[in-house]
């Protein structure tokens, strides 16, 4: 990923987390990420799509074409059971690493 403001490997985690609440389409996910992070993540929004294709391939999310509120056709991504499990694993992993980094920085 060519996102300079993201820790490497965290995009998957962020996507899975964003989808935990409700199924969303690509634009929605981009909006959500920007909102939650308070504009800290300056990702080229296009990079979401290869990442989403990867999650699809792994079977962590499922895609479904539905109508938007404005009656446009859009693909909504939904977390699968495998995706939930993956989110937990990745989250635990991330917190472990983050905790370690924090401890090192504060020592």
């Amino acid at each position: 990923m060519e996102s300079k403001s993201l820790l490497p490997g965290t995009l998957d985690l962020l996507l899975l987390k964003a989808l935990l609440l409700e199924p969303m389409h690509g634009y929605g996910i981009a909006q959500r990420l920007r909102q939650i992070s308070g504009d800290v993540f300056q990702v080229e929004e296009g990079t979401l799509y290869p990442a989403l294709q990867k999650l699809l391939a792994k079977g962590w999310v499922a895609g479904e074409w539905k109508q938007t509120e404005n009656n446009r056709r859009a693909r909504y991504y939904k977390l699968t059971a495998a995706g939930r499990k993956q989110l937990q694993t990745q989250r635990a992993e991330f917190e472990k690493v983050l905790g370690a980094i924090v401890r090192v920085m504060e020592a």
Binding site: E2, H25, G26, Y27, A30, E44, E45, G46, T47, Y49, P50, Q53, K54, L56, A57, K58, G59, W65, R72, R73, A74, R75
Partner: protein, 879 residues
Amino acid sequence: MEFVHRLWSWLRREARSRDLQEEMQLHLELKAQEHIARGASPEDARRQAQLDFGNASLVAERSRERWGFVQLEDIRRDVAYGVRQFVRNPAFSAIVVLTLALGIGANSAIFSVVNTFLLKSLSASHPEELVKIGIQPSGELEQNAFEYLRDHQKTLAGLIAWDDGNIAAVIDGKPDIITVDYLSGNFYSLLGVDPLAGRAFTPADDVPGAPAVAIISYEYWRERFGLDPSVLGKRVQLKDVACTIIGIARPGFRGLRTGGTAAKITITAQWHAQLTLKDNTTFSLFGRLAKGVSRKQAEADLGLAYRQWLLPETKKVSDPRERQALLQQTIVVSPARQGSLEFDRRFVVQLRLVEAVVALVLLIACVNLANLFLARGTSRSREIAVRLALGAKRGRIIRQLLTENLMLASCGGALGLMLSVPFMRLFALILCGNANAEALGIQMDGTVLAFTAVLSVACGILFGLVPALRSTDKRISPSFPGQSTTSGTRLRSHRILIVPQVALSLGVLILAGLLLRSLQRLQQVNLGFDRQHLLCFWLYPTLSGYEGQRELDLYDRVLDAVRRVPGVRAASLSRLTLRHRGRRHGLAIDGAVNADAPFVFNTAAPGLFDALRLPLLMGRDFAPQDGLLAQSVAIVSQSLAHKYFAGRNPLGRRIGMVNVEPGVSRTIVGVVSDMKFSSRDEAPAAAVYLPYAQAPQTLRGQAEIKVNTLVDPAVMIPAIRNQVQAVAVDMPPVKILPDQELQDFESREERSLASLLAGFGALAFGLAILGLYGTVTYSVSQRTRELAIRFALGATRRDVLWLIVSESMRYVISGILLGWSLAGGASHAIESFLFEVRGLDPVTCAWSIGLMTITALVAAYVPARRARRIEPMAVLRSE
């Protein structure tokens, strides 16, 4: 899971792509609306949305990597691109493929010969356990030694005795001479092989008193019996032994050989002594190591057993020299995974040398192709430069170019595989004297296929990698060619390839020249007797059951019949073939033993010297009355007489061959002029001739008949054969040859090596010259601007011509010097094939180097002449 998804996505990649496009489109639109809501103009909003989104086509590309198999997809695209390239340049592709096909075909063929004879394992179970039992420093194993070892060894799972030869077989009343293998009864069970039909030998078939049984080869079954299954149980008369056919071997089964022709019939070893020629009493021994026994252990065990057998044997030997030699014998156990490997070292040298030369031809061809691709790389460099500028990675382009080359190489390899079949027949004919490669076991198998595949890929990389690396190197590749370069590193590296080409082809040329010159010398050797009008043929009466006086009567009948044929001037015989190379030692002159005296001996019927036109200098020829019961007499050669009776009259003196016939003393009745027994003899050997009726036991049973004709001997062959057939009804038809062919046969290895080296040397030479021509042509075409400037500055046409030719010749001369020293090193390998020509024979070298220099000059001059036609103004204006 992921694989299924990939496969599914790949199958539906069109739909996936549409979905993604729609998704991204929606994203951009929503994004644009967002910007409009913030007050941007529709124009700016769209632009801003695109900036936020990033490179959409890159995103699509990245997403696509998740669908299907990108690597495979890339290869498919490279292949498709390559095919388009080839279709665009059919002549170029055809030349490349054909060159490779010839080179690879020849290499596969020679490899299949090498594989058959030197690499392949015997078709037996666990061939790696097989060992050969031999004797060092020299000696052979007699039948009783085999039996003693078989009964006293403790380290082998079994010991096999094997000998091969010819046998006279009468089948359905028709006599014929066929090849035979004698094998001990445990052979089939120990090797773990079954016959195709019938049963194999068992040890019980190989004990005295057991009925004679035989197994025939599949090939003989097909040729002689037309695959008739009723052949099992058929009676075959071998001399005085009635033998029953009990089995048919599998197709291609050759006993202990991996290549060569299979013996037509196999019988048990117990019949060996009764059925072979009298002077053949030895066997080759093989065995299978028992479980957990090493070769060293087996060697110690067998060595001990052999020693026990040897000690009583040595007491029977009177000659101290021979006794000493016997006592020095030790047993050697060597691996025999490949069976007997019975051919001599010269055959191996020959095979390896031809293999090396054929590989050289392919190497030179690859260097030529690399040159060709370098030149093409330049013409394609605009395409490559554009692709590099558009962001293609260098590795990707190299892979693309390599794919193209590998495709060409694979096509060359596939075609080469087809061409290798005729090549195999050619090699089989020249190296083994039999064009039926399959009958010799030379065929395409997995190993050869793998070799060809590896070779093709290696070729593709070899001639493809350097040009691919160069044409994608931005430092060298001029970004927009079409302009000519000046002579720089590019051209130099191009020209440097001339050096190995010239060197390698000159090396081969010199070797071929040495062999041809040596052959010519061999042809010119004067053996001392008249070869022009001589025919010869051989009789093996022993094989048909003629013994003692019956054998002598048969000879007399045959000689009388032949002498009656009109056009025959004289006919006679010797018991050993006249051109044997055996040297004996130990002469007793008037009772005084000279144990070191070397000599050659043979037996002669009356009239032999007349038939050979060898003048009798003193005394008399043998006569019919010199029979078995008459006085023992001998005729000696001039050089023997000169050596031992210098100046005195040898007639009436006594001579004895202490090791050939101990205790026999012969009276010298004649002196005959010298002859050489082999073309390679330095000087005529001292020779002793005995009357044919008084031949020692070991010389009986066979004879070489020499017929001197008044006319061209070849036309007399049918008449003589008919006469022999008429008086020796139960003898198989004989093969009659002009003596000249015998001479050719003697030098057949030199001849085959010379013809192969000359053929492939010429090919290498041609390729090298072609390469030189191409290089000079290319360099002239690349340097038009530089040359035009030279002209404009006042250089004459002659100057420019000289400049170009001399630049190339610098490399040619380095190549010649290198090739010359290469040939010097390689000539040691063929030393045993050379006769009266030493290492770097000045005449041969002068010819080869002269030929190379002149041809190279022409090859450089012709394209250089084009430079003279450059119109300086036209060229400079166009740039």
